[in-house]
């Protein structure tokens, strides 16, 4: 009797653990402002079809075919089938956030796929949910052209101050509470500086600019400000500043090195080698000369 109780306790314990794990998996802690985000792209058969292609190249290898429950079981945690009840229960904003940040084995897709592609993947996923009704965001992509982004560098505090306004017909509108991020262009992509902020009531945001950021030979850097507003959508502005550390490192083949060709070999090596050759030749010549003298004196003796 005791044994059976013990077994039951173990089983209960296990199921509890499993439940807890699955609970932990669902708990993405999506911030409220991200939850409410919606797509400005309509989810229809066209966008779902485009999303299918993107899904197949980026997601299928782990999540499997939607609805077939064939996700990669060897992973921990097992990636859920995206037509499962727990996936369906997530809001568009939550799914978008998950795609943006990733977690554990799931990589972030923020810099891999453009925003429209990320929404199309969600459109594809929603095509498996018949009860789904889309809430389209208020974003008007045509309005993006009205937005002006002004960047000013404050050298004393090493801060980059950004002002975001829109030139509406009714007058200038300051973009409040818009998501804003600062990037610097590097050889293989954009590198984010400081954290993602939100603009204040005057449409301003202030980024800490690192004092040790390397620039080009004279200290130029290309800075990108990316604004994401509920109404105006995503806007990027690029400008050049001469505020970084001038970097002009010599080329790696500049030094005279042992592995270089003769013209660039270290001088000590060339001298050492040449003196070695001279010494050896000298000794040989000296011996020959002495042998010659010896034979000559021998001849003299005979005579």
């Amino acid at each position: 009797m005791y044994r059976i109780k013990f077994k039951i306790a173990i089983i209960l314990g296990f199921t509890g653990l499993i439940n807890f794990q699955s609970f932990a998996q669902n708990n993405w802690d999506v911030p409220a402002d991200k939850k409410s985000k919606n797509s400005n792209i309509e989810f229809n058969s066209g966008t779902a079809k485009e999303g299918e292609g993107i899904y197949n190249t980026n997601c299928k290898s782990c999540h499997g075919d939607i609805g077939k429950n064939n996700s990669l079981q060897s992973l921990k945690p097992v990636p859920p089938d995206l037509s499962s009840a727990q996936s369906k229960a997530l809001l568009d904003g939550e799914l978008f956030h998950i795609l943006n940040v990733g977690r554990g084995l799931m990589p972030s897709f923020k810099e891999v796929l453009p925003e429209s592609d990320r929404w199309k993947v969600i459109a594809y996923m929603r095509s498996y949910d018949k009860d789904y009704v889309q809430i389209i965001s208020k974003t008007d992509p045509a309005k993006a052209n009205l937005v002006k982004i002004k960047m000013v560098f404050d050298s004393i505090n090493s801060k980059l101050n950004v002002e975001v306004v829109a030139n509406e017909k009714a007058g200038i509108v300051k973009l409040k509470n818009a998501e804003i991020a600062l990037f610097v262009t590097r050889h293989f992509g954009k590198m984010q500086l400081d954290k993602t902020l939100r603009t204040d009531n005057n449409g301003n945001a202030s980024f800490d600019f690192p004092k040790d950021l390397p620039g080009d030979k004279v200290g130029n850097v290309e800075l990108i400000v990316r604004v994401n507003d509920e109404i105006y959508g995503e806007i990027e502005s690029i400008s050049k500043f001469k505020i970084a550390v001038p970097t002009d490192k010599p080329s790696l083949t500049e030094k005279r090195a042992m592995w270089n060709v003769l013209a660039k070999a270290p001088i000590w090596l060339i001298l050492l080698y040449l003196s070695g050759v001279l010494l050896a030749t000298g000794v040989i010549l000296y011996i020959i000369y002495n042998l010659y003298k010896l034979s000559k004196s021998n001849n003299n003796l005979k005579n």
């Binding site: 554990g104 990589p107 972030s108 030979k217 080329s251 083949t253 500049e254």
Partner: protein, 321 residues
């Protein structure tokens, strides 16, 4: 006297016959020459025809005057490719960071590399090794490409200047110069080089391609091949083949001068020195003074355990030591 008179008579007959012969042969030669000339003219009016093998492997005959030589772009010009390959990219110092805590032995880096460089399945520019350092430490997977040393022993020993270091830090091999002595294989402490013992994989398809020293294609039998940090991709601002093929975010690649490395999976760019400082970055065999350009982050906090089936292979070198 009469004899003397007769002799000139005989001579004249001989001479006559000789002359007849000369005229005969001459007329035959002359007529044949004229005939040949007519034939030549006939051919000339028809136009010279040459045979051409098309890309579809079809043998065609066309007028020689219609044929125009194929104009090669500068990227098909061997001299141009060799020069840009030797020079490298100004102002750059490429580095790679490999995060061992993320490697799950997916081996996508290896297949992407082999496809790009037309390597045989047994030839590896990059290889994912199964490692176990001591009996008490856990085993882990370790991708190992060429370390692109700043003080490369392989380059020091090359007798023909076939393998060389560029200003941007990449160590390349010029298969046009390589004599196949394999001194560099012996000198490399990281076993990063492979030799083309057999005919390369796509030897026939690649036969007409212009050799690109930044891609090592076409591969040449009897020469060395090695990891190139995908010098051709890097020139275009793209990440190396292995880096962008990784599904698990193992690789970072970037420029030391810019202090930035980009993750191949997430495409996120981070500060290079901060990444090393925060995660305890290290290089392989620093005691040799080779100064590698490939950095490793230790296999700490691995989310995916080492697979049981690989355990024997990982422990193999422990039994030898």
């Amino acid at each position: 006297m009469s004899e003397q008179e007769e002799k000139p008579k005989k001579k004249t007959r001989r001479e006559f016959l000789q002359q007849l012969g000369i005229v005969g042969i001459g007329s035959v030669l002359g007529s044949s020459a004229i005939l040949a000339g007519i034939n030549y003219d006939k051919k000339k009016t028809e136009g010279q025809r040459i045979r051409i093998l098309t890309a579809e492997n079809e043998l065609l005959e066309i007028e020689k005057s219609d044929a125009t030589p194929v104009v090669k772009t500068k990227y098909e010009n061997l001299t141009y490719l060799q020069k840009q390959g030797r020079d490298g990219i100004e102002g750059k110092r490429f580095v790679m960071v490999i995060d061992l805590s993320k490697c799950q032995n997916a081996r996508k880096c290896m297949s992407a590399c082999q496809n790009a460089h037309h390597l045989r399945p047994e030839q590896h520019h990059i290889n994912v090794l199964k490692m176990e350092e001591t009996e008490n430490t856990p085993p882990f997977y370790m991708p190992k490409p060429c370390q692109h040393c700043d003080n490369p022993p392989c380059v020091s020993v090359c007798p023909v200047d076939a393998t060389f270091k560029r200003q941007d830090g990449i160590v390349l091999i010029d298969n046009e110069r390589c004599i196949g002595c394999r001194f560099c294989i012996a000198a490399c402490p990281y076993s990063a080089r492979v030799f083309n013992w057999a005919e390369p994989l796509h030897a026939q398809e690649d036969a007409d391609k212009t050799y690109d020293v930044e891609l090592n294609v076409p591969q040449k039998k009897g020469t060395i091949s090695k990891c190139l940090f995908s010098a051709d991709q890097v020139r275009l601002g793209k990440l190396p083949y292995c880096v962008s093929a990784c599904p698990n975010g193992v690789y970072y690649f970037g420029d030391e001068n810019e202090d930035a490395v980009t993750n191949g999976t997430t495409k996120e760019t981070v500060r290079f020195r901060k990444l090393l400082a925060d995660n305890g970055g290290y290089t392989l065999m620093p005691e040799l003074g080779t100064k590698p350009r490939v950095y490793y982050l230790p296999p700490k906090g691995k989310e995916v355990p080492f697979q049981e089936k690989d355990r024997d292979e990982a422990a193999e070198h422990l039994s030898h030591s």
